[in-house]
């Protein structure tokens, strides 16, 4: 069959088979046992670009999307403005269709971007070193727990109960097989034994509020455990970096920084730590070196940690850095820069507080505070009716509501406000909630 992706015609194939010394393509597959060779393949027929584009477009139009609706949904994936430059750079074939930079002489573009990325992650988090990227925030957190066990030679990890339950689920998947115990701990009722490798804390926590990090850092360090912080990188535009309160490993979901929500991926996991743990890190790391002429250049380094060399002794099985998404994040940080990151954070902060102030004045609705009670761009609302019903009513008014956290907080609805939500959007939300409260 001819397709635009396979240039060789029947004539070419004949010519090549003659060179190979075979009569038919079939002859090349003779090593496959005959009884299982050439099975029936029940797939749809090929579609032309015109038809397929229409079909895909029809599928996409069946989704309710942010932009078409306004959205107050966060909980780990965020709707933020992305400058046009980001997708313009990221869609360049030179970046998008290159392989992992194993051949540094023909990969300096990808490698230099990774070095920029690592640098900016260090600057944003205040940490000493960062790798070139992990799959996403949740797997980054799970790998941090495994690394803490390697570093401390302990076999138990504690996670604060205000951490994202989705992240805790992923952590649970990762720790079971190596026989690491997972303990969910509560602030105020916490005693960490001397067998705990790390205390994992999300900042701001899953419900939107800042935790008292200094106190938690002391608790972890007093027990000889590492402090692992799962931080919101957008919040770092205004809040203290985790290095200030003594974090040992910092992980984060990078999506809010220049990456579309795309129904959950691809995203990029941030992974940074203190210098002394660098050889225990998972993932790709890019370093600066010199070429044979003495010119500066970049190369994958500390590779002896990795699976292709260490095989069953590797620090992790990961062999991607999600380079294209780290590129998007790098370009976004370059565009936003020092001033833009601060401004995005402040826009989120003030708008979220404006929304909270309106909603807390609605009869039947109240703000539920966890941790220090100080919030950034998310906060938890107690609704007079189940949040599922609230969200359904909001949807009918063209609003994507919050995340239903009633499993953890009575009639709790986690709302998120970013620079994408205008004053009018926020007031519409408030009006809609008032109607729901009155009905």
């Amino acid at each position: 069959m001819s397709s635009p992706f396979t240039p060789n015609t029947e004539e070419h194939r004949k010519k090549m088979l003659a060179t190979i010394g075979m009569d038919s393509v079939e002859d090349l597959f003779k090593d496959i046992p005959e009884k299982v060779r050439n099975p029936n393949l029940n797939l749809p027929k090929a579609m032309s670009e015109l038809d397929l584009r229409a079909y895909a477009s029809e599928l996409s139009s069946r989704n309710v999307s942010a932009g078409e609706y306004t959205s107050f949904l966060g909980a780990g994936s965020y709707w933020h403005h992305i400058p046009a430059v980001v997708s313009s750079i990221a869609s360049r074939g030179e970046f998008m269709t290159a392989y992992t930079p194993y051949q540094p002489e023909v990969s300096q573009g990808t490698l230099q971007v990774a070095y920029e990325f690592q640098s900016m992650i260090c600057q944003l988090t205040g940490m000493d070193v960062a790798n070139a990227g992990m799959y996403d925030g949740s797997t980054s957190l799970a790998e941090a727990a495994l690394m803490a066990c390697r570093v401390t030679r302990r076999n138990k990890v504690a996670i604060l109960n205000s951490t994202s339950p989705l992240y805790t689920d992923v952590l649970d998947t990762y720790v079971q097989a190596p026989g690491i115990d997972l303990e969910i701990v509560e602030e105020g009722h916490m005693t960490l034994g001397d067998e705990i490798a790390c205390l994992i804390v999300q900042q701001p926590n899953f419900f939107g509020y800042l935790e008292d990090m200094q106190n938690l850092a002391n608790i972890a360090h007093d027990a000889g455990a590492l402090l692992v912080v799962s931080v919101d990188p957008v919040s770092l535009g205004m809040f203290n970096p985790p290095s200030d309160y003594g974090a040992d490993i910092v992980v984060a979901e990078g999506q809010g920084i220049g990456v579309p929500m795309s129904y959950g991926g691809p995203y990029v996991g941030i992974f940074a730590c203190r210098q002394e743990f660098v050889r225990q890190m998972p993932g790709r790391i890019v370093g600066k070196t010199l070429d044979t002429q003495g010119k500066e250049a970049y190369v994958l380094t500390l590779q002896a940690r990795e699976q292709h060399i260490r095989r069953e002794h590797a620090t992790s099985n990961i062999c991607t850095s999600v380079a294209l998404i780290s590129l998007m994040m790098t370009v976004y940080l370059a565009c936003m820069g020092k001033q833009g990151m601060r401004k995005v954070a402040e826009l989120c902060y003030h708008k979220a507080h404006y929304a909270a102030s309106l909603i807390s004045a609605i009869p039947g609705f109240s703000i539920v505070e966890y941790g220090t009670g100080i919030f950034f761009r998310e906060f938890t609302v107690r609704c007079p009716v189940p949040p599922k019903e609230v969200n359904q009513s909001l949807l009918e008014k063209g609003i994507i509501g919050g995340f239903d956290v009633s499993e953890y907080s009575e009639n709790g609805l986690l709302l998120c406000v970013t620079e994408m939500n205008s004053r009018e959007d926020i007031e519409n939300l408030s009006d809609a909630l008032r109607e729901i409260g009155e009905s």
Binding site: R279, A304, H313
Partner: protein
């Protein structure tokens, strides 16, 4: 001390016993050459106790990794910390500046389980042949 005064393990570590019953431990020239440019050596700390042929540490080159095994049992009394900053000494001078640890031997008869230099050289030739 010269290489022919050392005893060798099949894991390519050498040990040289001095008059005080302390063994100086490193890896052979052959091992250093096969690893290529050594970039990192992870060694035990003073006071750790080693068993003969038990894991002693790890060594990394640009494109390879290997575990290190102690050729003799005993207590670690000194560690060559210079290797932290200059791992290339393992390549340049595996029997002198690139030594790794000093061990106070528990049982000097363990040396009998090791090869002499000529036995080791034969061992290397044979294993290369395979």
């Amino acid at each position: 001390m010269t290489p022919d005064q050392c005893k060798y393990s099949s894991e390519h570590e050498w040990v040289y016993l001095d008059d005080d019953g302390v063994g100086l431990v490193g890896i052979s020239q052959h091992a250093a050459d096969s690893l290529g440019d050594v970039v990192f050596v992870d060694l035990p700390i003073v006071g750790d106790s080693m068993t003969q042929f038990g894991k002693m540490g790890e060594i990394e080159s640009v494109k390879a990794f290997s575990e290190l095994f102690s050729p003799v049992g005993g207590e670690v009394v000194e560690v060559n910390n210079i290797l932290n900053d200059a791992p290339d000494l393992v390549n340049e001078s595996p029997y002198e500046k690139g030594w790794m640890i000093k061990i106070k031997l528990n049982d000097a008869s363990e040396l009998d389980n090791l090869m002499t230099m000529s036995e080791y050289d034969n061992f290397v030739i044979q294993s290369e042949g395979n």
